[in-house]
Symmetry: C2
Subunit: 272 residues, 2 copies
């Protein structure tokens, strides 16, 4: 299972031997790891992070409420509090991700390994579910995960607007045989808090994707094989896109592939 | 099915012949019906309504985000906009419920049949899921609905606090044989947007209910029969309780048993 998920990763670093998410976060906090979080503390839920000022937090929460498929909100921190007390008590949102991106007016201004110097008393953290959470359940159900890397596309599916936010849905993609696709629908339906079932199966053009070989974000390969079909899941990059398109005065996000490792077990997010 | 659900209701009023939720709301808007919404436009989702000023709406949304079992938020309107554009386009939150309750500083000050005179440009409507939505699915699955009326209890289960809101969970109760209780868990799991599975089965005292014969809100009877067990679902009255306990400066809610009839089909809220 680990091999299938992480075949392209050099697992010689001691962080891969650490199964406790608290220890993993401590190593990241100490600066011992600035790479991808994929494969760390396996079985514990990893979440996308978006941090915005309290003045934009209402609209962001409204966006997530109105668009729960791409923006499944797992936790919202109190303004100024860097601790995600529900999903990762003891964690510090300012230091416990390997890398961050800092945006001003929609422009990337920094990609630091902590955001201590950027922290403000009015910042609110949004923890958004990630489809990595159901990958273990898919593997356990015999669904092959052929994808290496991340493949995320912009679609023509509009979000329900909320305040200053309006944009189209981002989706992640996997390829698999049709019978496995049916199984994947069943398995992922159990995980509504991390995007749930696919939003589309089949023709990429039907949701506005012009060239499946050229994702809008991410790099990697789907390892598409003869007889495979494409599955598309709503993607947690969507609220980040919404923040960028709104040119928020200030926003911090995780850097690609380096998200927050929480204390929550993946299976705790299955509703059955 | 109708008989089981509505045996205590005089169904001679023409509103019971109306299957279109838009027409039902028009009759209510014209003042032709001020009674319970139970049994109206059968098969269409009815939702709890809480209206608070924008200044309290952030904390209310946060409360719902942190406590989705008792507070499943189905829609949040834009401030000042009385139309729930997602679940009931064309509806008017100020006129389309049979009766309302108006609270100031936690005290009931009025129970009008519309709230036009109370409306303000800063008011935000919260539409909260109601367990009535899965009753049709329970009946279809052979689960007997013996309860008549509403039976809601205060528990000792604390909510996750949010801003100025902190209170315990309210629950609704049904009684049924144990084999049907198992089926009820399965069926209601499909409906996470309207409270989902029960939060407790069995001994009322285990969740702090001292006297099952004396609900804290509502009147009716469980029609408990020998061999039955009690099932408790998180209840949408909970965010109302939170608003009352916080003694919000201003809050409007539906009056008991008179909620909003939306255009959405109950089955649309099943995730499978």
């Amino acid at each position: 299972m680990s091999l299938a998920l992480h075949s392209a990763i050099d697992r010689s670093h001691p962080i891969y031997q650490e199964s406790d998410p608290r220890k993993v976060r401590e190593m990241i906090r100490r600066g011992e790891w600035t790479g991808s979080t994929r494969g760390l503390a396996m079985g514990h839920t990893q979440v996308n992070l978006i941090i915005v000022p309290r003045s934009d937090a209402y609209d962001m929460m409204l966006l997530c409420q109105r668009n729960p498929r791409p923006c499944p909100l797992l936790e919202v921190t109190d303004a100024g509090d860097p601790e995600p007390r529900i999903m990762a008590p003891g964690a510090d949102l300012r230091t416990d991700l390997p890398r961050y991106r800092v945006f001003r007016h929609g422009e990337l201004v920094d990609e630091p390994t902590d955001v201590l110097s950027y922290w403000r008393d009015d910042l609110v953290g949004f923890l958004v579910g990630c489809s990595m959470t159901f990958e273990g359940a898919l593997l356990a159900a015999g669904v092959p995960l052929r994808k290496v890397g991340a493949l995320v596309y912009r679609t023509n599916i509009p979000l329900r607007p909320a305040g200053r936010f309006r944009c189209n849905m981002g989706v992640s993609m996997m390829a698999m045989p049709v019978d496995k696709a049916i199984r994947a629908v069943q398995v992922t339906t159990r995980f509504p808090g991390v995007h749930g079932a696919p939003i589309h199966i089949g023709d990429p053009a039907a949701i506005g994707i012009k060239d499946i070989e050229r994702p809008d974000w991410g790099t990697g390969t789907a390892n598409f094989q003869p007889g495979d079909t494409y599955l598309f899941w709503p993607c947690g990059v969507t609220p980040v896109l919404a923040g960028l398109e709104a040119r928020l005065e200030f926003m911090i996000t995780h850097a690609p592939a380096t998200v927050l490792v929480t204390n929550m077990r993946d299976e705790a997010l299955s509703i059955m």
